[in-house]
Symmetry: C2
């Protein structure tokens, strides 16, 4: 069976596998200073945003990723007030963080303003909180931002980045984690997307080692399904400067996240535990 030109296809790099979504229209195509942004209408996944040909967001399944990138960190911290999101241009993570009333400021540092402007137009649900008075949308280099941040200026740092190639590569390295450590307050938590447990276990392992050597005291890698990301299975790794507390109860509305899901997501299957050792 072959797919005609009405299908968008992403080859999963180095994995000899690909996912395709049937498209009904292409509604945006833009080359920014940083990347090519395309928006499609799909048959069954709502709208799709790709960056340089890779799936970033679909209407249908982004809720899992955005909830798992945010609520576990927000609810593990005893009392988070100031949050930094690096990347996150589609604003889905921002929206989830701002559901929590105790958060007083979220700085979002996205390299490419184009991503956010396109998201505002084509993914209004994700951008519903962009005008929240607590949100500061900054378009700048996240690595420089962290280096220039004052010591202990954030309670949470969320790395909602693209894959560890090109401009995002530096977001997966020890020096960057060290700078995050310094920019975090005493009980500060770093949460970073950490790719596929099936495809990228060695990356998860090196991220964890780098977070540890940057000074973080406790780590937790959380697993969750993500249909349109490579392998359909994804992870986020949480690093805390202090001991991991039992998460506070979730008092905001969610589709995927719950306290039970939070605990479950941290249980790693034996094959992965062995690979991360």
């Amino acid at each position: 069976m072959t797919l005609d030109k009405n299908w968008y296809t992403e080859k999963w790099q180095g994995q000899g596998a690909a996912i395709s979504l049937r498209i009904t229209d292409k509604i945006h195509d833009e080359q920014t200073d940083y990347q090519r942004i395309e928006i499609y209408e799909t048959e069954s996944f709502g709208r799709l945003m790709t960056l340089d040909g890779l799936v970033m967001v679909t209407d249908r399944d982004n809720f899992i990723y955005h909830e798992m990138m945010t609520h576990p960190a927000v609810l593990t911290h005893p009392s988070p007030k100031k949050v930094l999101i690096i990347g996150g241009g589609d604003c889905g993570a921002l929206k989830e963080v701002l559901k929590h009333k105790n958060i007083i400021q979220v700085d979002q540092v996205e390299l490419d303003e184009g991503v956010t402007r396109v998201a505002e137009k084509y993914f209004p649900a994700l951008c519903a909180s962009n005008n929240d008075a607590r949100a500061r949308l900054i378009f700048d280099d996240g690595i420089k931002w962290i280096q220039n941040s004052k010591t202990a200026s954030y309670d949470l740092i969320i790395i909602d980045s693209t894959d560890p190639v090109g401009p995002a590569a530096g977001l997966f390295e020890h020096e960057f984690y060290r700078a995050c450590y310094t920019a975090l307050t005493k009980d500060g938590i770093l949460m970073a997307q950490s790719e596929s447990p099936l495809f990228h276990a060695s990356l998860i392992k090196s991220m964890r080692q780098d977070m540890n050597s940057a000074g973080f005291q406790t780590l937790a890698t959380l697993l969750f399904p993500q249909c349109t990301y490579p392998s359909g299975w994804w992870s986020a790794t949480l690093a805390s400067k202090s001991r991991l507390n039992k998460p506070r109860a979730c008092d905001v509305e969610t589709l995927y996240y719950s306290s039970g899901i939070h605990a479950s997501a941290q249980v790693l299957p034996p094959f992965l535990e062995r690979k991360l050792k």
Copy 2:
């Protein structure tokens, strides 16, 4: 981006989405009385078996499915001795069940002998226990087999079937579950593959309703990643004639299953809980 003829593609029926695996060779192509069986060598997933063009098994990721279809049922039952597998022609579930020393007999009733013969040749690891003295390989209609089974003849029934279309459709219906109920012993457990939580929530719901109305007292739907199945996220639904016990400890070697994974897999995200209500 388009895929050339070196890619095998499965369109996920009704979902406007597809998965593709890069193939390096096609090593078997056979039309049996029931279906077309094809075997490919892939670039990164080892061997791939398809039935009527749908992915059944790859070397790389079948361990998750086969372990989750078997160990939760075996270890939840207080003392399982006789097991029936319906379908399961690739013999991966059979191999997992036979890891447990307390099992004294496994009848596997697969409609299409061709599937098992091909699996024996191309998936020898899955068929490693086919010659175990406790295994009986029967090639027959699973629905008739259940109807003709004596009352209380099995402790566990595992439905390792293809999708609910064609010959497998009857394996997803109330009458069939009722016959399973009768064929099961007092604490008997039925375990059935129940498709994708993202794509097929309404099927899971109707299966659960049918199992309930067939007399099963307690149900548990378990979720797990399965890269090459539709949406990359899959489920198995367990139905017990009695109260669900805490699973016994797992004393066999596994790659995905553990007691912790067993408990975690039963935690349903809020969106799914609502849909199953």
